[in-house]
């Protein structure tokens, strides 16, 4: 089964994407609002979903919203921000068990209205957000930002990117900065919200069962008449590396966290990018990868070690958890394995295995309403309208030379190491 999207333009810069499937017991609706990632707005963007979740014009408080969600058979609401390259995406998602299980025709429409109210009809006082809600959510956001230290692994990855991309917007932390909070209030945040609603590209994605009635309902409730929509530029990915930047951070921890950041300069729009995906998988994609075999299985240096590609910035990252004193030993093995990739020292079997792994994870997208929604949004964001089958085909067509060529583009930029 191939997934098909029916794309309907609802207005300037706002699209409805319909993906029909009757495979699931639930339906899912997402709003993706896309902003440029910049220092000025990052904290305000992060604060918006928190404040919007507090209440809308029909349901004024969290208590009412949450009780409504329970009544709607535990509809699952999730609001968040995340960065995709140098774009900051505010996402609102609601998933609900299909109305056919409850003999309630109007139920699907009620859930759709609820999400629409959360996005477009926030609770207001004196033509601005609630002072109290904004104050409380600033406190919560502060805890959230400070809480990034709690997971040492993801903290180390974020720190490596921060150091590596110092002069780029990509270095920004998705949830913003504590020092920005004092200057944000209910008035300027509401002004920002109006801006966001008035000039951002918006993708609405529906996955599940639908009929004419439901579609016209979504269309009617999301019609917008907007003039100027902001233009979002493509990230810069070419950088000269003068020398490798080594950052060491001391914390009272039991395990060292090693993160190596590489530039590749291979844009995802080019065919060679598929070669990079496979190179990264052979190097550190799974338990069959070179890093797993050499760092973990042969030398018992780590429990986790792997690599990944950051699409919009063409960065490759390797991260592992090791003993403090094994820094030199581990980085040496990593360098050797990358050298092997550059020299074509990998088997045809390795290539086939990686292609299969990528194929399996791509096909699994079809088994999750959320992943389907993310897939079609990602297509929109990258102007890539290949079907899943075409994506798989392009992976299949990668040959040994492409992988070697891609590996030769991998250049070490920054090493981050957390230790005691």
């Amino acid at each position: 089964m191939d997934l098909k999207v029916d794309k309907i333009k609802l207005g300037n810069g706002i699209n409805l994407n319909l993906i029909y499937t009757d495979k699931f017991k639930s339906n899912l609706l997402s709003y993706y609002i896309v902003r440029p990632l910049n220092r000025e707005d990052v904290t305000k963007n992060a604060l918006l979903p928190l404040v919007l979740k507090r209440g809308n014009q029909k349901l004024n408080t969290t208590l009412e919203v949450e009780q409504k969600l329970d009544e709607l058979y535990g509809s699952n609401l999730s609001l968040t921000v995340n960065k995709r390259g140098e774009k900051h995406v505010i996402r609102f998602t609601l998933e609900w068990a299909d109305g056919s299980y409850f003999n309630d025709d109007s139920y699907n429409l009620k859930t759709i209205d609820l999400l629409n109210d959360i996005v477009f009809n926030p609770y207001l006082e004196n033509d601005s957000f609630s002072k109290e809600y904004v104050r409380q959510e600033k406190e919560n956001l502060k805890d959230r930002i400070e809480g990034k230290i709690n997971s040492k692994r993801s903290y180390a990855v974020d720190r490596c990117i921060e150091e590596m991309c110092k002069s780029e917007a990509f270095s920004l932390y998705s949830f913003g900065y504590v020092e920005d909070l004092p200057s944000i209030d209910e008035k300027n945040l509401y002004e920002h919200y109006k801006n966001v609603i008035n000039n951002s590209p918006i993708e609405i994605i529906y996955v599940g069962k639908y009929d004419e009635k439901l579609i016209s309902h979504i269309k009617e409730s999301n019609k917008m008449n907007r003039q100027n929509i902001i233009y979002l530029s493509r990230e810069k990915i070419d950088y000269d590396i003068e020398e490798v930047n080594v950052v060491r951070e001391r914390l009272d921890v039991n395990q060292g966290k090693l993160v190596l950041g590489y530039r590749t300069g291979i844009p995802f729009e080019e065919n060679l990018y598929n070669g990079l995906l496979i190179a990264s998988d052979i190097l550190g994609g799974g338990p069959n990868s070179k890093l797993f075999r050499h760092v973990r299985e042969e030398n018992s240096l780590a429990y986790y070690i792997g690599s990944m590609v950051i699409k919009y910035k063409s960065i490759l990252l390797i991260d592992g958890g090791i003993e403090f004193e094994n820094y030199d030993k581990t980085t040496k093995i990593i360098n050797e394995q990358i050298e092997k990739m550059r020299n074509g020292d990998f088997s045809d079997d390795d290539i086939e295995i990686s292609k299969k792994a990528i194929k399996a994870s791509t096909e699994s997208i079809k088994d999750s309403t959320y992943l389907i929604s993310e897939f079609f949004f990602s297509q929109q964001l990258s102007n890539d309208f290949r079907s899943l089958e075409e994506v798989l085909n392009d992976i299949d067509n990668v040959n040994r030379e492409d992988i070697i060529e891609a590996s030769r583009h991998i250049a070490l930029d920054t090493i981050y190491f957390m230790s005691k």
Binding site: M1, A97, N150
Partner: protein
């Protein structure tokens, strides 16, 4: 072959018991790309004292041995197992928890070949002194990773303050010291006792044929000489009372983390009774602490808790506890407020209309869970070892009466069985 059908949720499970004693369950999922198999033994970190098969005396094994064994079963004499699965396009993994060790793979292709591999590798351990030694370095790093995780530490400290003797106090992976005393011989003893087919279950889900599955398993399973239906596990008596009221530790973290634990004394239930108690307790916790509760909203508005606040009950035959979890700058005040809440009369804090609302929510959540192959597989096995089939879940849910909630609230949530665990920033 037997079939269990639940037409209301439009799902069914097929079932077969092989001569070896192994039970196979299969849930068809037409239209799904992913296929998933999990091969589990009813053997987890709490089974650390037992009579090895063929012996008379009990044996207390080092902490973390079930998990160590899980790692070692991936060892093969010839080619690395990961490579074999990868070549088929399948992704293999395993986990150990308090009660079970599970080996699983997911794939979109070559399912039956992968199934053969799974059955064969779990049933053919290859342990040498050398490869046992090698694993100690890897598992030490896994233990140290958890040692740096404040969320994990606050949880285990809570268990240790609730339980006096019960092995649930023990970290699943053990300690760096304990795993260093593990030997090949001990691993084989544990293996031979607990990896007997009659102590195991194989669950498969996806767009597949059950006839073919049975054929593959029959031709790849090992023939065991001794069928052990009755494994002797030894549990030291656990008092009803808690171990210590309060436990605190300092770590690299931002906001203090807390766990409030209520130790259960209504134990030794299996099957439907166990599931019913589980559901009743979780409904109470939802009524008291979920984002749609008054308590949550009051504390949230006062800035005492963040949205990282929640509660759940978990239990098995020999233990059980309700946990109220969150982060707060004033965890002791949250604790006091929780105690004040549970001091009240059930009728006052648990309203009938709220009870009905939470039942709606549970119904929808269960239906949505059935979208996920992983959710079904993991819960199927977990409930199976409690002697319960997941398809009957909704029926038990609907049997629950408001009175059940009031009764359980009174007995389980008291000042006598509660503990507080806190991790403070350094």
């Amino acid at each position: 072959m037997n079939t269990i059908v639940n037409s209301r949720i439009d799902e069914k499970v097929l079932y077969e018991k092989l001569d070896s004693g192994l039970k196979i369950f299969f849930m068809p999922k037409p239209g799904f790309s992913k296929k998933y198999a999990v091969f589990s033994t009813n053997y987890g970190s709490i089974d650390n004292n037992f009579i090895p098969i063929g012996e008379e005396e009990n044996l207390v094994v080092p902490e973390g041995i079930a998990h160590f064994l899980e790692h070692k079963l991936f060892e093969e004499e010839d080619e690395a197992l990961f490579e074999k699965f990868s070549r088929l396009g399948a992704s293999v993994n395993a986990f150990t928890n308090f009660n079970q060790t599970s080996y699983l793979f997911s794939t979109t292709d070559n399912f039956y070949e992968s199934l053969e591999l799974l059955v064969k590798f779990v049933q053919s351990p290859y342990l040498t002194d050398e490869n046992v030694e090698k694993e100690k370095g890897i598992i030490s790093q896994e233990i140290k990773m958890y040692d740096d995780d404040p969320g994990w530490r606050v949880f285990f400290n809570c268990l240790r303050s609730m339980y006096v003797n019960h092995p649930i106090r023990i970290d699943i992976a053990g300690t760096v010291e304990s795993i260093n005393t593990i030997t090949k011989e001990l691993l084989y003893k544990a293996y031979n006792t607990f990896y007997n087919p009659s102590n195991m279950v194989l669950f498969i889900i996806g767009d597949l044929s059950f006839e073919k599955i049975i054929e593959v398993v029959k031709s790849s399973e090992k023939k065991f000489e001794k069928k052990e239906e009755n494994i002797k596990r030894i549990y030291t008596d656990e008092p009803k009372e808690i171990n210590e009221k309060f436990i605190e530790e300092k770590m690299v973290t931002s906001t203090p983390l807390f766990y409030i634990g209520f130790k259960d004394s209504d134990l030794n239930l299996m099957g439907k009774d166990a599931v019913k108690k589980d559901l009743i307790t979780n409904i109470i916790l939802d009524l008291l602490f979920s984002p749609s509760s008054l308590f949550y909203n009051e504390l949230y508005n006062e800035g005492l808790i963040t949205s990282n606040f929640g509660a759940y009950f978990t239990g098995k035959r020999t233990y059980g506890h309700s946990l109220v979890i969150g982060e707060s700058h004033k965890p002791k005040i949250v604790y006091e407020k929780v105690l004040n809440l549970i001091d009240k009369r059930g009728e006052e804090v648990l309203k009938l209309e709220d009870f009905n609302r939470i039942k709606n929510k549970n119904l929808g959540n269960f239906l949505m869970g059935l979208n996920s192959i992983e959710f079904i597989a993991n819960n199927f096995v977990d409930l199976y070892f409690d002697d319960f089939i997941i398809l009957d879940y909704l029926d038990v849910m609907e049997e629950i009466q408001y009175n059940d909630i009031l009764k359980r609230f009174k007995n389980h949530f008291t000042r006598g069985n509660v503990v507080l665990s806190i991790i403070n920033p350094i």
